[in-house]
């Protein structure tokens, strides 16, 4: 056991205990993030107004190049490719988010209603895909959607059975389409919708449901009047957690998407790697971030609110 030695602390010890310690705990991660996250981010900003040059690295400032080159940003509005890419990305992401909500909300609600012994196992089963490789989960769907898979053949059979002869198909063109992108996005991001929703719904007081029933509302009404309004923070948190990353996805569109109508993540990667056009890639990236700033701020607003409320 250490003996009390309050007045015997040397000057260094006193400084350390009072301020140095806090500075270390805050400072170390802070410096790391500034160096390896903030500065790269600033580089992207700066790069977006640079000029593409055939040098290595492929950009130039000053000299014969203008200091601030905004042609990249101008192209975003004039070139059809970028406009279509943004539209496709936002549409796919929004579609996936809505589907995640429609499927995930009942699942989360069901999880709160099952008995506790089942709940542990079921929650684990929901989390398990989340821990498995993301890439492999996308790959799993590639297996199902391919023209020769049992799944595709089964669906084609059903399709042909209900559709007139001249519309019959050999196989459903599931792969390499926006449909595939949305489907796989829903598949891989569904846990991100279920978990915040479940956390929100689990905290609701069941007595309120009883009070509503006592006052004359049937269970469906109770859901609409009482459960749904209180689950809005969870819906927003889950929704943004799906929408924002999904809009900038690269892996899913590359593997199962339509190469003819690329999503914005692919455009950025292509501009950067294939076309070696760093400034353009940076401009597109900045535009994507600007588009996401609104949703991101809503997300962190709701995060801080839920943290404050939980205390």
């Amino acid at each position: 056991m250490k003996a009390r030695s309050t007045s015997h602390d040397g000057r260094f010890a006193r400084w350390f205990n009072r301020t140095g310690w806090a500075q270390l705990v805050i400072g170390l991660p802070y410096i790391w993030l500034v160096l390896l996250f903030l500065i790269p981010f600033l580089i992207v900003l700066a790069m977006s107004v640079a000029t593409r040059t055939p040098t290595a690295p492929p950009f130039g400032y000053g000299g014969e190049n203008p200091v601030i080159n905004l042609t990249g940003y101008a192209r975003l509005f004039t070139d059809d490719l970028y406009i279509r890419a943004f539209t496709t990305s936002v549409t796919n992401a929004a579609g996936a988010t809505v589907l995640c909500l429609l499927l995930g909300f009942p699942m989360a609600l069901a999880l709160t209603r099952v008995s506790t012994s089942w709940r542990q196992i079921l929650l684990m089963l929901v989390i398990l895909p989340f821990w498995t490789s993301f890439l492999l989960r996308v790959y799993a769907w590639m297996g199902l959607m391919g023209s020769n898979s049992w799944f595709n053949r089964m669906l084609t059979g059903w399709y042909n059975a209900v559709v007139p002869e001249e519309w019959a198909l050999r196989a459903l063109p599931l792969m390499h389409s926006n449909f595939a992108v949305v489907l796989v996005t829903v598949y891989t991001y569904l846990p991100f919708m279920i978990l915040p929703l479940y956390a929100n719904l689990e905290r609701l007081d069941p007595v309120l449901d009883e009070a509503a029933m006592d006052l004359g509302s049937r269970p469906l009404r109770v859901f609409w009047d009482i459960t749904l309004p209180q689950s809005i923070p969870g819906i927003i948190a889950g929704g943004l957690l799906v929408f924002i990353p999904a809009a900038g996805e690269l892996v899913i569109p590359t593997l199962v998407g339509d190469a003819g109508s690329p999503m914005i993540g692919r455009v950025i990667a292509d501009e950067f790697s294939s076309a070696r056009d760093w400034p353009m890639a940076s401009s597109v990236a900045v535009a994507l971030l600007v588009l996401m700033v609104g949703p991101m701020m809503i997300y962190s607003h709701y995060q801080s609110r839920s943290d404050g409320g939980a205390r």
């Binding site: 309120l208 009070a211 029933m213 006052l215 004359g216």
Partner: protein, 364 residues
């Protein structure tokens, strides 16, 4: 005799192997305030929930105004509940909370608004109509819960521990408010509580419950002065009990031998008493008179003051009897007295006496 308003017939409720309510039968009259009183786990809350419709009886039936309530879901019953935690909807204003149930009644919007106003006026919360639950105090939240439950003019209002969350001052005030509201609206109240003071003040009749069964039903005076068992006697108010044996019984008195009191005492006769029967003698502290001088009368016991607690308006004494037993005595300080001429002091030798009618004889 007209059919009682609420009839609970042979109701039992089991959860798995645990029996929460055992064969309970009782009736409640229209416009009555009825209390279910008991400690935690006695089954009173389960019984309340069966009345509201959140649980179904395993056995037995419940009748409300002549209608069998078996299988009727809560949203169809003309019964509303004031929950212990108030259960106000956090995302609705006070006004919308109170008006919530009215959606299911055939009223025009104007009629609904009028009714909400009427209710808010009843509980004096009109200025707070547009506030949300987290913006009002605990006592105000309770009044909103009450207004909300009464808005649809239910036949029966259930109150789950209505005064438990309030501090002492607020409790007294709310007690009287509840009683006055009940009088004005004429709604039948069933109150569940573990606080016997609450039950005694509010209720017209009390049912004392223990381990799923009803032990005694009656108006507060009856349950207090004429308990039918050791449990009820001990549960309500304070009491001191002594083992005793009946010596003889005459027309209106009984002689009972109480070893702890050192002799015989005279009690009022009860039907069914026989000589030689073992009984319990129970004495309420306020029924014992204490003085330094030996009084006249049938039941006089000597003792020494072991402890005394002075409350100003009254005092509580603990007196040791020669047999070693401690008796609690409660005396009002009716006369102004200083230290010198006080009724009794620590270590004083005193005489306790009581009227034969105050002796409670219990046979269980």
């Amino acid at each position: 005799m007209p059919d009682p308003f609420i009839r609970i017939e042979g109701v039992s409720k089991s959860f798995g192997t645990f029996q929460a309510v055992r064969d309970v039968s009782l009736t409640v009259a229209r416009g009555e305030i009825f209390a279910l009183l008991g400690g935690s786990g006695c089954g009173k809350t389960t019984l309340l929930r069966m009345l509201a419709g959140f649980e179904d009886p395993t056995e037995g039936r419940i009748f409300l105004d002549g209608q069998d309530m078996t299988g009727v879901p809560p949203w169809e019953r003309p019964v509303h509940m004031m929950f212990q935690s108030y259960a106000l909807f956090p995302h609705m204003t006070v006004e919308r909370n109170v008006g919530y149930g009215l959606k299911h009644d055939a009223m025009t919007r104007a009629q609904r608004a009028d009714r909400v106003r009427e209710m808010l006026d009843l509980v004096q919360l009109i200025p707070f109509a547009h506030r949300k639950p987290h913006q009002i105090s605990g006592g105000q939240r309770q009044r909103v819960a009450l207004a909300r439950a009464l808005a649809r003019q239910p036949k029966l209002l259930l109150l789950d521990e209505p005064l438990a969350a309030l501090d002492k001052k607020l409790r007294e005030q709310t007690q009287f408010e509840l009683m006055s509201i009940q009088e004005r609206t004429g709604v039948t109240f069933i109150v569940v509580t573990h606080d016997q003071e609450e039950a005694m003040t509010l209720a017209d009749r009390i049912a004392v419950m223990d381990k799923g069964q009803v032990k005694q039903i009656g108006p507060p005076t009856e349950v207090y002065e004429y308990p039918n068992s050791r449990f009820v006697a001990g549960f309500i108010g304070s009491i001191t009990t002594f083992d005793a044996v009946v010596q003889s019984v005459s027309a209106d008195t009984a002689q009972v031998d109480v070893p702890a009191l050192g002799g015989r005492i005279t009690a009022r006769a009860m039907p069914g008493l026989t000589a030689g029967q073992s009984v319990t003698l129970a004495l309420r502290p306020e029924k014992l008179a204490i003085s330094r001088h030996r009084p006249e009368g049938a039941n006089v016991i000597a003792g020494v003051v072991k402890d005394l607690a002075y409350f100003g308006k009254d005092s509580l004494y603990r007196v040791t009897l020669p047999s070693g037993q401690l008796v609690a005595v409660h005396a009002v300080n009716a006369r102004r007295a200083g230290a010198a001429d006080r009724v009794a002091d620590w270590e004083d030798a005193v005489w306790l006496s009581f009227d034969p009618t105050s002796a409670i004889l219990l046979v269980d």
